[in-house]
Symmetry: none
Subunit: 227 residues, 2 copies
DNA sequence: GAGCCTTAATGAGCGTAACTCATCAACGAA
DNA sequence: TTCGTTGATGAGTTACGCTCATTAAGGCTC
């Protein structure tokens, strides 16, 4: 077993401080000193491990996102996806929130990079919504981003601490609902009509996709680029 | 100088791990071993110190709140007050977010108690707004609470890490604005457009869920089929 | 195959810091 | 003066991250 695999197993199982370097070395069939040929420090090893996990877990969410249409649905997917990741990996979450995010060198980490990408996706979705007239133009996007990410942190905190669980789908629903209401253009009839139109358009697209999956030959039908 | 004062000075100045018990003892004109007559462990001492700080800083915010009327204004005050506290005490914030909140014994802490009181105030304000008909009755209060607290965490993170500052008043304004819009009662409940919109929105969400269930992670590529 | 050189692994050891415990000083009572 | 009790003391103990001189291994030249 190589160092990364051994370290991952022990970090996830015991947490950062309880994990001792000698045990990681032993599980990797090495001696303690040899670890320091590959990783400068215990914390450096942790960062490498968490980066690897993070990358696996959030692997292709952007490709999945590409298959989802509609501002609201896309927003919901982003929230739901992160909630599920947190729900499935509480151990990893603990490591991240306790020993990665609060460290000074977090900003030079790949994890920071990945979090920025996630945030950028949210920004893009909101921007799309604004240009489509579906969302208010004055929306401070940084605030939306921070509220979503901070909210996810809070909402998953109890589960991460081993106290109770949560329903990812339902939580995503309610959170999306609230955020969207804060984002949505005002209650003028025109705006409502625009949103109605956008929603039914999304519905049509999704239904088409659905139909293509359920169809006899299960053939993919090109639905986009129609204009 | 007594132990608490010495510990507070050193914890705030150097952070948790850099603070060493022998130095705290020295500043309190004691010897290291004597600390353990009064506090079982280093972390126990930290908790005592942070509790004291917390209580001083958030001393009489509820009295100030009592002088503010209007759901929106009261909500803004709560947000603003916490933002200012975070802005004025970044060192304390670091201790709290890194070494108090993530610990297993946090729930048995006075700090947890104080946070609950803060959250309860937010709940009360929202409840008032609902009974006054100003806010939507279906509002999930737990969500609002979590979004606000998580958002404050995120928004103050950079400053806590020593990177840049923020304008507490303006941030509070924008945050309140967004949250309130999510909370505010829309048109009449029997407004046809609103009902229609809600229904088609739900339908769209359901269809998206359906699609992702049918094609596991393949909503977008159903182009090739392997026979 | 013999000598040599570069590179990688070893494990004994160091430094530090939280925490403990046998000891001892201070002080009141006999 | 002597004894008993209380509470501070500081010299350990332990644990763990990290280092470094030494040794083994694997390829390259003659």
């Amino acid at each position: 077993m190589d160092i990364m695999a051994a370290a991952r197993a022990i970090f996830l199982e015991k947490g950062y401080e309880e994990a001792v370097m000698s045990e990681i070395a032993a599980r990797a069939d090495l001696v303690e000193g040899s670890l320091y040929r590959f990783f400068d420090t215990k914390h450096g090893l942790l960062i490498a491990v968490v980066e690897a996990c993070y990358e696996e877990i959030l692997a292709d969410y952007d490709q999945q996102l590409a298959g989802i249409s509609g501002v609201r649905n896309r927003l919901r997917f982003m929230i739901w996806r992160m909630l599920v990741a947190m729900q499935d990996n509480p151990d990893l979450g603990r490591l991240v929130y306790r020993h990665i995010l609060p460290e000074a060198n977090y900003l030079s980490t790949r994890i920071y990079e990945l979090n920025r990408e996630y945030a950028a996706h949210i920004d893009n979705i909101v921007t799309e919504g604004i240009t489509a007239g579906e969302l208010r133009a004055e929306t401070p996007m940084w605030l939306v981003r921070q509220l979503i990410m901070g909210g996810i942190d809070q909402l998953t905190w109890r589960h991460r601490m081993g106290l109770g669980d949560f329903d990812a789908a339902q939580t995503a629903d309610e959170m999306t609902d609230f955020i969207y209401r804060g984002l949505a253009a005002g209650g003028h009839p025109d705006d409502v009509a625009a949103r109605l139109e956008a929603t039914s358009r999304d519905l049509s697209t999704t239904a088409t996709q659905l139909a293509s999956m359920l169809g006899p030959q299960n053939v993919y039908t090109e639905t986009k680029k129609s204009d």
